[in-house]
Structure formats: structure tokens, C-alpha cells
């Protein structure tokens, strides 16, 4: 029903703007109903302004900026309606070291209420985990687990 949707939309939108500012260290972002008078069916647009840059179409952003923005939206939905766990498969792949560190810091805050399982190749992301699960294919084609020491 329209009331529930409006409430969800507004809360997620507010969290999205907040997370964006945290992950980008500034700037602004918001979701917008394409058709305000048709909240029941209207699609949703996304306007973003990285710090110091102009408000632009989200498509013009770089690969790393798009990933950070998607994470901001995802976490916003998550904060509105938490799930027991959250599994992220290589969401940090396009991020440079500065952004991986910002992502980690946001994760520190989120993990108080959610169990995170993260698949990654980034050493910085691994360093923030409480436990590491190693997977190998010693015998070709057959996966098995190994213990991992972090150095």
C-alpha cells in the first residue's frame, strides 16, 4: 500500500544520503520518484554529487564511485530492515585503498547489528575480519577449507 511504500522510501532515502556522505567524506545523494503524483507505480531516479563535483547523472561516475554509491544504498536498505546476516561477494573489487578503508570503517559500525560474511581479495578488508576462512583447490576441481594466518 502507498503509505508503507512512502515510509520505506523516505527512511531509506535519508539513510542513503547519510551513508553517501560518510563513504565519500562529503557530497550529497538522494533518490527521487520520477512521478511524484504516481507514488504507487513511479520508477525511482538517483541523483548524486560527489564532494567538490557537480550534481550529475549517476552513470557518469567512475567504477569505484559507483561501487561506493551502491554500497551506500544497500546499507541504507539494510539499516531500515535488518537481516540476520549479510553476505558480500567482492563488492570491494573496484575500490582503491582509500575507499576500501572508508568501506571498512562503515562496516565496523554496521557489524554491531549484523553478522557479515565477506568474500574478498583485498588485504585491507581481510585485516578487519574477526576470522578468516581459506578456500583452496589442492586437488584439481575439488574445493576444501584451510586455516589462514594473517601476516
Amino acid at each position: 500500500c502507498i503509505e508503507k511504500f512512502r515510509e520505506t522510501f523516505n527512511t531509506v532515502n535519508e539513510r542513503f544520503g547519510h551513508n553517501f556522505r560518510e563513504l565519500f567524506g562529503g557530497g550529497a545523494a538522494q533518490l527521487q520518484l520520477l512521478d511524484e503524483d504516481n507514488a504507487l507505480e513511479s520508477g525511482i531516479d538517483m541523483l548524486v554529487q560527489p564532494p567538490g563535483k557537480k550534481l550529475q547523472n549517476v552513470l557518469l561516475m567512475s567504477g569505484g564511485e559507483k561501487a561506493m554509491t551502491a554500497i551506500a544504498l544497500l546499507f541504507a536498505i539494510f539499516e531500515y530492515k535488518p537481516s540476520p546476516f549479510c553476505l558480500l561477494d567482492e563488492v570491494d573489487a573496484p575500490l582503491d585503498e582509500v575507499n576500501v578503508t572508508r568501506f571498512m570503517r562503515k562496516l565496523e559500525e554496521m557489524k554491531r547489528n549484523t553478522q557479515f560474511i565477506i568474500i574478498t581479495h583485498h588485504k585491507i578488508t581481510m585485516s578487519g575480519a574477526s576470522s578468516l576462512l581459506g578456500v583452496t583447490m589442492e586437488e584439481t576441481g575439488c574445493s576444501k577449507l584451510v586455516s589462514v594466518k594473517f601476516n
Partner: protein, 165 residues
Amino acid sequence: LRLEALELYGFKSFVDKTKVTFPDGTTCIVGPNGCGKSNIADAICWVLGEQSAKSLRGSKMEDVIFAGSANRKPAGYAEVTMTWQRIEALQDEKESRLVVTRRLYRNGDSEYLINQTACRLKDIQNALWDFGMGSKAYSIIEQGKIGQILNAKPQERRTLIEEAA
């Protein structure tokens, strides 16, 4: 509710019975390309009731059964068991865990179990819904999907919000 463990047997590249334990806090899964990390993510989606083979990178559901390797024959079935632990443990220890199993045989037969009792897929989905695992649309982000979230059309973005509503 907390995800405590996952057991894979004959599921994709996990031919041998493998128990994955998730300790408290954040778990990072690491390893070289193609070693099986995303297959663990697929196992979680599958045991939660995923019905689309395409979402698991396959063309038919049979693709999740171990297909064999240089030294091993194909498996006859795939089985994944997921163990949830109630965070506030109850008086009755037996009540404090939820164990969900899904099995698929090569001939297409499926079996579902809750706490070792046979049930239907619907029962698993209902049990998880009661625990707030209703929609995994945004709690499981598959490899490469992060780009899709932004390139989504306005209507698809709406669907994402509606799922949370």
C-alpha cells in the same frame, strides 16, 4: 538468529563433505580465483530456497551437483545443510538451533528437511520468514551484482525498495 555453520556435500566444487563454521563477528572468505568462494555463497542462496538456476550461474538446477573432475566421478546428489543459532539461547538446548537441509538428486528429485524432519520448500521459507530472513534480495550481494544496483532502470530500483517495504 545467527548463522552458525554450513555443510556442503556434492555441491558444485565441494565434492567432499565440508563443514564451514562461522565464529562470532565478521568472517572473511579468501583464496585464489576459481577455488570455490562464490560457490559457498551459491550454497547459502540455494539452501535458503533459490529456485532460479540462472541466479546460481547455471543453465539448469542440475548444474549445482558436483560434475566430476580429472580424478573424481560426478556426484549423485548435492546436499547443503545450514545451522542457525538463536542468539538468546532457550532453556531447551534442542530448541535453540534451526537446522535446514536441501538435497537434489540427478534425476531431479528434491528433499527438504527442518531439524532432520522431512518438509516442503514452503516450510523452510516460512520458518526463515519468521526469523526475518524474508527477502535475501539485499542481504546477499553476488559477485558483480554491485554494478547492477546502479545501472538498474528506475522501475527495477523501485522493486528493490518495495522488497524492503
